[in-house]
């Protein structure tokens, strides 16, 4: 469904005298199948967020192609209503001038389904909030609440794919677990798939069907979650042993 082929990405280093390029992603290729949850794991600086931005079509790769259902993801019309995202930094994820209601309704307005009857209260209850939050502004929400609103916002237009970039990393442990549960539950009720970017292997193993391990901008593993224990590459083994010990 979301197909990535031979993607490379580098950033220009702002160097005064020479034009160095910092290669962030090297020859990435995989496919996200409709409805599945794919985890992308890697250390800090391995290029996960960069890959996420490419998958969302808001940045262009240097080479290679990314298509969604056969159409390039960088076209706005491909993305509209098909893909959505939740980002890490909940403090800047919602327009400070928007109320919770406006924020949640925005994707619907764009997907062209705004006229469809839509139960915003039900959606809010699904993410563990209620109608009293509708008129609040983002700075009046706690971190966990803001992240739940972001999830509700991502879900509202019922896209096929939601990309979560470290969506739970800045949350407290117990809240993390609640959000993971919530994601699992939403998945069954809406039948959508996730791309779950994280550095937390345990969270990925809990939620994902398949896991991709990325190191220094290269894809080192792409395995079913059950086979995570039997990975071959030394880097993946090392990463796993850290978690287990």
């Amino acid at each position: 469904m979301l197909k990535v082929e031979g993607v490379n990405k580098s950033y220009r280093q702002t160097d005064w005298f020479r034009k160095a390029r910092n290669q962030v992603l090297r020859d990435i290729g995989f496919e996200w199948r409709q409805g599945e949850t794919l985890g992308i794991i890697g250390e800090s600086g391995s290029g996960k967020s960069t890959l996420g931005r490419l998958l969302l079509g808001i940045e262009e790769p240097d080479s290679g192609i990314i298509t969604f259902g056969g159409k390039p993801i960088s076209d706005r019309s491909t993305r509209r209503g098909a893909i959505s995202a939740v980002f890490q930094d909940y403090t800047s994820s919602i327009n400070p001038f928007f109320t919770v209601r406006q924020a949640i309704l925005e994707p619907l307005r764009l997907a062209g389904t705004a006229s469809r009857p839509f139960d915003i209260g039900k959606l809010l209850r699904q993410v563990g909030l209620d109608e009293s939050y509708l008129t609040r502004y983002p700075h009046e929400l706690s971190g966990g609440e803001a992240q739940r609103v972001c999830i509700a916002r991502a879900v509202s237009a019922e896209p096929q794919c939601i990309l979560l970039d470290e969506a739970i990393s800045s949350l407290d442990g117990s809240v993390q677990m609640q959000v993971l549960e919530l994601l699992k539950q939403l998945r069954t009720s809406y039948g959508m798939g996730y791309i779950f970017i994280t550095h937390d292997i345990q969270a990925a193993a809990y939620l994902c069907d398949r896991v991709m391990i990325i190191c220094g901008g290269e894809m080192v593993e792409l395995v079913e979650t059950e086979e995570l224990k039997h990975v071959q590459s030394p880097y993946a083994k090392e990463l796993l042993s850290k978690v287990i010990s």
């Binding site: 969302l56 400070p96 502004y137 800045s170």
Partner: protein, 297 residues
């Protein structure tokens, strides 16, 4: 309207707003308010003091100082405001483009700005006036040409800081066009900052126009302008110092009012304070500052 209410709570800002608004209104309605035609020469009344007919007295040609002061608002304030508007629009347009699109657009626009900003402002203004001749229009053109780069630069920084935010990223993921993002997600948030910066610049521009008119480079006689009125009073500075008082005070009061207003605006436009006011009254508790780091949920 909410903004106005907030502004009114700050006494200094409210007073400043009244002064500025009154000045603009008087300037606009000058023909209705001024007691005498501003250029009416009346040699019998040369240097006469305040009287019932001429509240602020008469100048070296027997013209009514009050009327000249009122008509002087037009070039000193109204035209400066128009020039400021033009400058701000050009600056905002280029600054938005540079801050939002980044990359090559940004590089090109910013290098042009660097070039413009590397000329010392007054020297360039004098050069332009030297080439095109003295006169208010030329000075205003010189102003727009010299200042847009500064505005573009400031606006770029303002926009850049918001164009990075995750909600802008999210809007792009949804497939909103660039124009839609700028008008819905960036402009409303950057606008308060732009208003504050522009109102701050207004004060200095009024001073500069008056300064240039004082030097005889601005508006030409016999039209009234505050800086020029001071220049005319200069000849009799020691025998009749009060002639300088009226235009001098007018400039000081207005520029101070503009500066106070810009400070007040800055406070009143803080979105956090603006939006949560009614709820704060209802006792919703303490409002966390927005960028207080990533506290744990």
């Amino acid at each position: 309207m909410k903004l106005l209410q907030r502004l009114m709570k700050d006494k200094l800002a409210a007073a400043s707003l009244c002064v500025v608004a009154a000045t603009l209104l008087i300037g606009l309605c000058a023909p209705l308010i001024a007691p005498h035609p501003p250029n009416e020469v009346n040699m019998e009344l040369r240097f006469s003091g305040a009287s019932w007919g001429y509240w602020l007295g008469n100048d070296h040609l027997g013209r009514c100082i009050l009327s000249r002061l009122i008509y002087g608002i037009r070039p000193s304030v109204l035209w400066v405001l128009a020039a400021l508007g033009a400058t701000a629009i050009i600056g905002a347009f280029l600054g938005f483009a540079a801050g939002y699109f980044r990359g090559k657009t940004d590089a090109v626009i910013m290098r042009i700005c660097d070039v413009m900003l590397s000329f010392p402002g007054y020297v360039m203004t004098l050069a332009i006036v030297g080439i095109m001749g003295a006169g208010l229009t030329n000075i205003l053109i010189a102003f727009v040409m010299m200042k847009w780069a500064w505005f573009a630069r400031v606006f770029r920084t303002a926009v850049m800081q918001y164009a990075d935010a995750d909600y802008v990223k999210f809007a792009r993921v949804l497939g909103i066009g660039h124009i839609g993002i700028m008008t819905r997600h960036i402009a409303p948030i950057a606008l308060p900052e732009i208003a504050v910066i522009s109102s701050g610049a207004l004060g200095s521009m009024i001073l500069q126009i008056s300064g240039l008119s004082f030097l005889g480079l601005g508006i030409q006689a016999p039209h009234a302008e505050w800086g020029m009125m001071m220049n005319e009073a200069r000849a009799v500075m020691f025998t009749r110092p009060e002639l300088m008082l009226a235009p001098g005070l007018a400039i000081i009061v207005l520029v101070s009012a503009v500066n106070f207003l810009s400070d007040g605006l800055q406070k009143a436009l803080d979105p956090k304070l603006m939006l949560s006011e009614k709820r704060a009254k209802a006792g919703a508790g303490v409002i966390p500052p927005r960028l207080s780091g990533k506290e744990v949920a």
